[in-house]
Structures are given as C-alpha cells and as structure tokens.
C-alpha cells in the first residue's frame, strides 16, 4: 500500500491544501469600498448593522415569499435595493453592471470574495426606461425606511382611474 503512487498522491494533496490555505486572507475595512453604502446608510430600510449582517437572509426570505406566495412588499425587495443604491450608468454614461467595480453590490462582494448569482437573472441596475424617477429621496412616499414602516402599494394613477371609469371601446358591446 505504501507504494510510490500513494506517496505521489499524498504529496500532491498536501501541496494543493497549502496553496488553498495561502490564498485565503480576511479582508480589512480598507479593502472594502464602502463610501457609497455609508452615504445611504441613514436612508436604509434597516439599521446599518442589521442590513450589513442580515441582508442576505432578508432577501432570501423575500424571494420565497414573492415567488411562492405572491407577497410583493417593498421593504426587503431586491429591486428596491437596486433602485436606491445603484445608478443606471457610470460617470461616463455607459451602463453600470454587476461586473464593474463601482457597482454597489460588487464593492463589498468582490472584496470578501463572496460570489452571488442574483444578477444572472435579476436586472443589476434600475430600469430607467420603465421608471424615470426610480431613485428614492429620503422621506418620500416611495421610500421604505424602517421608521416609516412599509408603504402601501401606490395609488392608481389618473390614467388608470380613467380606464376604469370610462369603459374601453371593446367593452361597449
């Protein structure tokens, strides 16, 4: 059993383990580009320490609630995180994506080496074409700050009210 083969095998396993051990280094505060996040900390849906440590759990909970039960509250919605924290374009006007280091989520996730696959499917920047005023201001009715509680779904727009009150052409028959 203690052949040349098993020696070679053992040596290669040890070498690989040593290599892997050398690679892992805990990131320091300096490694994390937290400037944008800190700017918005006051407006966040949860206190800073909560959102930092628990955002993944909240998103996970929200994702199942939305997919399976159709619950679409906004406080812990990924879409609303993106709308608040990520701008649609970089400074030079080109689209900003998760792969870019300026992307809000990337600033931290790249530094801690935590790969996420949210953005394989989800839009990684606000859908400007859909909503020009995607960016929320502090205290606005669109905000979901934890001190405000959860805001209800938006009231119907004038156009929508009109659709109901004035029967469509096809409905006249």
């Amino acid at each position: 059993m203690t052949s040349k083969f098993s020696q070679v095998f053992l040596a290669s396993v040890l070498a690989l383990a040593a290599l892997l051990a050398g690679c892992s280094k805990a990131p320091t505060e300096a490694d994390l580009n937290l400037a944008t996040a800190k700017q918005k900390a006051e407006e966040c849906v949860e206190p800073e320490n909560v959102i930092r440590t628990k955002h993944m759990d909240m998103l996970m909970h929200q994702r199942d609630a939305t997919m399976i039960e159709g619950i679409r509250t906004k406080q812990h919605s990924l879409k609303e995180c993106i709308n608040c924290h990520v701008s649609a374009t970089k400074q030079d006007g080109s689209p900003l994506h998760y792969g870019d280091k300026e992307h809000f989520c990337t600033t931290c996730h790249a530094a801690v080496g935590q790969k996420i696959d949210c953005f394989q499917c989800h839009a990684d920047r606000p859908d400007v074409a859909q909503n020009q005023n995607y960016q929320h201001a502090v205290g606005s009715t669109e905000g979901h700050h934890f001190t405000q509680g959860v805001t209800e779904a938006a009231a119907p727009t004038t156009a929508e009210v009109q659709m109901v009150t004035q029967p469509q052409q096809g409905a006249a028959q």
Binding site: M1, S3, K4, F5, S6
Partner: protein
C-alpha cells in the same frame, strides 16, 4: 464466500499503470475543459436546443448509469444466487458499479444549466418527481455497493456478506426501474410514456454492465500479467447472449405496441422507417451490429473459446447500447410533439417539423470525460486495494463448479 485458494492482491507497480493514468487523465482534462467552457458561455455552444433538450451528454450519462447497475450483477449472481464461480469477481463487480455510476453522474451533473446548485438538488425534494427519487436511489446505490465491498474485504464483516449482497441487488433493480421511468412517466411524448421502459432499462443494464465488465476484466488481467481462464469467461459469454436476447424481446414488444396503437404509429414509423440517421442507428448499429453480430460471435461453433470473439461481442454490444440510447433519447425528441392529432401544424418555432441535432465537440468531450473518470477510478481502485484475485485460471476459479 470465495473458495480458499483465491488470493486477492493489488496490481503491481509499473510503467503501464502511469501511462494508462496519463492517457485517461488527458481525457479527464478535456472533459473538465468542456464543462468550464459550457458553464462560462452557456449552452449555446452545445448542439442542444429548445427542442432537443437532452443530447449526447445524457446518452453518455444514462449509458454509464445503466451500465453501473448492470456491472453489479456479476457479484449479485455469486452472492444472491450462490453461484460460486462468480464470487471471486464480486469485488471488481462492485467497484466497477460504483465507478461507472460516478462517471455517469458527473456527466449528468456537469451538463446542468446550474451545476453550481447541486446542493439544491440534495436539499429540495419534490417527491412526485421520479428524478428526485433517482437522486436518492443513486446515493443509496453508492452506499450499498461500498458496504457490499466492505463485507467482501473484511473478514469481521463476513456475516453481513449475504444481506449486503441481497440489499445491493434489490436496490439496483429499483434504481434501474427509476432510470427507465424517467422516460416512462413522460405523458406528453408517444415514444416514451410506457411502463415497458422500466423493464427494458433493466435488461439493457444487464447487457451494458456485463459487456463493460467483460472488457475490464480481460484487460486488467492481460495488462497485469495475471491468468484468466476460459471457464470464467465462457460463463460470462453465454450470459451476455441471454441478456442481448432479452433486450431484443423487450424492444420487439415495445415497437409492436407502438405500431398497434394508431396514436403512436407516427413516431414508430419515423424511428423504424423514415428517421434517416435514427433509422440507420436502430437497424444497422443497434440491431445488426449491437445484437445480431454479438450473438453470432458468441454462438458460432468455430469461435468457441475464442477470446477475441468474446471481446468483439462485448465491444459491439456496447456500441449497440450507445446507439439504442441515442435512438431513444435523441430520436424520441426529434419527432415533433403532437398538438393537434390528425392535423399538420407549422410555426416559426419548429412545430410539426423534425428537430435537428448535431452534437458539438464539447458534448463529446464531456461524455468521454465521464467514461475516463470511471476507468480512472477502477484503475486506481485495483491498484490500492485488493479487488482482483491473483489468478482466475480454470484450476483456481472452478475446481468443483456447480
């Protein structure tokens, strides 16, 4: 257990071992390359599409998985049915079963759209899905086969030898039933939805597993300079013939049923007459080369005790098996779904049209990588542990056979 004169030994140190590992390692590397390529770029680099959703990787994977459960049979015949001559081969049989299954599963898993979510497949179960049951069956098979090997290798565990063998044998029958039912339960496709898929896959597993076992047994003995007698090989030879005949019978029943039910005549005539490549693969490769030729090689009087004839028979049975799975998988998907019986349908999305499929080099590499992994596991296995009897000459293997 095995008779007293059987001594198990690891294979010897030698240049051949490293050369073999290097060759297989090269194929493994190609398989890994293929996985990373498709994982990074997406499945658009493969030949698979939204009509042919399962392609060549699945042919390889299902072949290996089905062959895995069949490879265990040699051991089971010795343990469950008490045939002494098979017992010395039990360890290799179980090792080969584990190796083939792992090789097949790796292909299946690495072809997933999200191979990185394998953990989800292990933690989220939909118990109505035969696929979910198969995940449990595969894992259970690996565990039971490992226990089976342990009872054969450890004298202290000898008492569990028979129960372990029976458990592994029962489990493998259920496992292949599950694999066949992956197709049998598909309500929407006339070529698949039939209970016969389960027994068909079981008999197919007998053939694939035994054919692979014959080749592996011969070449390990030849390359390590050990003796392998005709008594053992002739047992396996005629067993292979019986199994091939069994597959032919099941296929006959399946296709006759298809031709009898008018709802299924469309897809049956496609496969049997109008299917181009699928028709050729069925008649020429599966039936002629994969079934009739091996039977002739086995039963030809002039070729009695001819080792080369047996190896060719096993090789052609494997080739036929691949063709059979290709026809079942790809051929079955190539024929369009029936939305409106009795009507011609067309659309800008291939409705009513025969679906095309050309495997890409990446799919071939991934499949061959799975085969290489299985063989690497066997090669290393017989090297580091006592799987192989030092000799299976007629005098050792069959002193007083029954």
């Amino acid at each position: 257990m095995a008779s007293q004169s059987i001594i198990f030994r690891e294979t010897k140190q030698g240049k051949g071992f490293y050369i073999l590992l290097a060759v297989l390692g090269a194929f493994l590397a190609l398989g890994a390359l293929s996985f990373f390529h498709a994982e990074h770029h997406g499945h658009h680099v493969t030949g698979m599409n939204n009509q042919i959703v399962w392609g060549l990787p699945h042919v390889f994977a299902i072949f290996l998985i089905v062959a895995a459960s069949g490879a265990l049979n040699v051991g089971s015949i010795g343990t469950v049915f008490g045939k002494k001559i098979y017992q010395p081969m039990g360890r290799l049989s179980a090792l080969l079963a584990i190796s083939l299954l792992v090789g097949g599963l790796i292909v299946l898993v690495l072809d997933l759209g999200h191979a990185d979510r394998l953990i989800i497949a292990m933690t989220h179960y939909n118990f109505k899905s035969i696929f979910a049951w198969n995940i449990i069956l595969y894992n259970g098979f690996l565990v039971l086969s490992a226990i089976y090997i342990w009872t054969m290798m450890d004298r202290k565990a000898k008492g569990f030898y028979k129960p372990a063998g029976v458990a592994a044998f029962t489990w493998r029958l259920i496992l292949t039933t599950g694999t066949g039912s992956i197709f049998g339960f598909l309500v929407s496709r006339d070529f698949y939805n039939s209970a016969v898929m389960a027994p068909l896959f079981i008999v197919m597993s007998f053939v694939f597993g035994l054919a692979v076992f014959i080749l592996v047994l011969h070449f390990t003995y030849k390359w390590t300079g050990r003796e392998l007698g005709d008594k053992v090989m002739n047992r396996l030879r005629y067993l292979l013939a019986v199994f091939i005949a069994g597959v032919l019978l099941m296929e006959l029943a399946r296709h006759l049923t298809g031709l009898y039910i008018s709802q299924r005549i469309g897809v049956e005539t496609f496969i049997l007459r109008d299917g181009g490549i699928y028709t050729q693969l069925f008649w020429v490769v599966q039936i002629l080369l994969g079934s009739i030729l091996p039977l002739s090689l086995i039963f030809c009087r002039k070729l009695k005790d001819n080792r080369l004839a047996l190896l060719l028979a096993a090789g052609f049975a494997i080739l036929g098996g691949f063709a059979q799975l290709y026809v079942i998988l790809i051929g079955g998907q190539a024929y369009p779904l029936t939305l409106f019986p009795g009507a011609e349908v067309s659309s800008d999305y291939f409705d009513g049209a025969i679906n095309g499929y050309t495997p890409s080099v990446w799919e071939i590499m991934l499949g061959v990588g799975g085969v290489a992994l299985a063989l690497v596991m066997v090669t290393i296995g017989v090297k580091v542990l006592r799987f192989l009897p030092e000799s299976l000459s007629d005098a050792v293997a069959d002193p007083h056979s029954k």
